[in-house]
Symmetry: C2
DNA sequence: TGGCATTTGTACGTATGTATC
DNA sequence: AGATACATACGTACAAATGCC
């Protein structure tokens, strides 16, 4: 019959109103909010309340305020930074390596399929460049190699033209690499590892070049499985098998 | 040689430290933070600074503080609510229906494959129950039908045992349904629509029953495409085709 | 049960460094 | 270069709410 009453703080209502104005498009990116002093008169609350609201909006990437700027806080618009942060946090704090790898295989499997068929020539060139960089970095050690690897995967994700694919791929790849970073650092033969990765990437890029989505997807999933399954505890390996052909 | 200096606010360093303690597990859910006054002495900053930090943490779902609680702010731990919120915001504010459908086909295509092979008998029973509910709700109107539909999809997502699959599916499905809600409400023959959905769900559930992941995946993607592609502007339909067999 | 101590929510004032015109 | 307006940060104060005895 009756619903529990949740007290709504003053700063929350300030956040609500400003956030809505930004999401609805009434406040375009680049626009300026009134100064904190103006906001306190407009909302009829104290400066602290306004500041708490602005901090929340800022942590969500919606606005940015700099000291001394007479034009007031800047509207940044809706960005992916907060999504990135919260997904990162959830992944690191609550997900097993198996769960993450499963999601990465699921995501990249389809992303590579899409990328193979939707890519432009410019995007293909970016991937080629990243692969060349990887090849060149084999002798420069693993960290340089890994940076080029990230560039490659990012180019593929961006070729899908799908914002959620880009963000999810980026986050999940980052967390997975972090979780096994120490084991990679102590690998017996880093060079052999890099050469294996290089072969995988070369094959999948050929499939993307050929616009063969099904092959690109299969290669991507298989490569992920082959590269990382050995780092998994025995009982988590079964989660990955259903995603292989 | 030198990198640009980004000013780090006092409250950000407070957020960093507390957030890290929560994500690393040093602060378990249910634990209590020191009172604001204690925090200001421990961090050596003013109370406003502490409060701004707490607001940010609270908006990220990591802590909750209630007025008058002598035990101090409560640690909630890392949950998916913030991920849910930020993904929702990004999807609604910046993504086209085509982009969302593309992601949904990508995600559910693999999710159904996983669910078919990893589901337990209990999870299968949940899906059966949800489908029965849908069947019964055909005569109760679209909103009741849709609620049962959500239950079905959620049961499938949870059967994957993958937190990111659950959250992403939930968000994307919600936004897609919202975007076409008005067009569904004015559909000429809602009953025929519901019967079509019902047939799709019956087929895909049979595939899950048979543990035929490939078939479940293909049926799920095809059903999404058949159900929603007509709501897309012409130029966005090409984005979906690469995800069909 | 009621009262007390403590905590949070909010408001206001002030000093300081900074960006813009 | 100076004036102005701004955000940052600190401190104090008081009301409302909570938990505990």
């Amino acid at each position: 019959m009756f619903k529990p009453v949740i007290p709504v703080r003053a700063y929350e209502r300030v956040v609500e109103q400003i956030e809505q104005a930004i999401v609805e498009g009434d406040l375009q990116p680049g626009a300026r909010l009134p100064s904190e002093r103006d906001l306190m008169t407009q909302f009829g609350v104290s400066r602290s309340t306004i500041r708490e609201a602005l901090r929340v909006l800022q942590s969500n990437g919606l606005v940015r305020s700099r000291p001394g700027d007479p034009r007031g806080p800047e509207v940044l618009g809706v960005s992916a930074v907060n999504l990135h942060n919260s997904m990162n946090r959830l992944a690191r704090a609550t997900m097993s390596l198996g769960e993450l790898l499963q999601f990465r295989m699921l995501l990249e499997g389809s992303a590579y399929r899409l990328a193979a068929l939707l890519r432009s020539e410019e995007e293909l060139a970016e991937m080629e460049a990243a692969l060349a960089e990887m090849r060149a970095a084999v002798d420069d050690g693993y960290s340089a190699f890994s940076a080029a690897d990230v560039t490659f995967h990012d180019a593929v994700a961006r070729a899908t033209q799908n914002k959620l694919v880009v963000v999810c791929s980026d986050v999940v790849r980052g967390v997975v690499l972090d979780l096994i970073a120490d084991r990679l650092a102590h690998a017996d033969d880093q060079r052999a590892l890099m050469l294996t990765y290089l072969r995988h990437h070369t094959e999948v890029l050929q499939a993307i070049r050929d616009q063969d989505g099904v092959r690109a997807s299969r290669l991507a999933r298989q490569a992920l499985h082959d590269s990382y399954a050995s780092y998994l505890p025995e009982e988590q390996r079964a989660m990955l098998a259903p995603l292989l052909d």
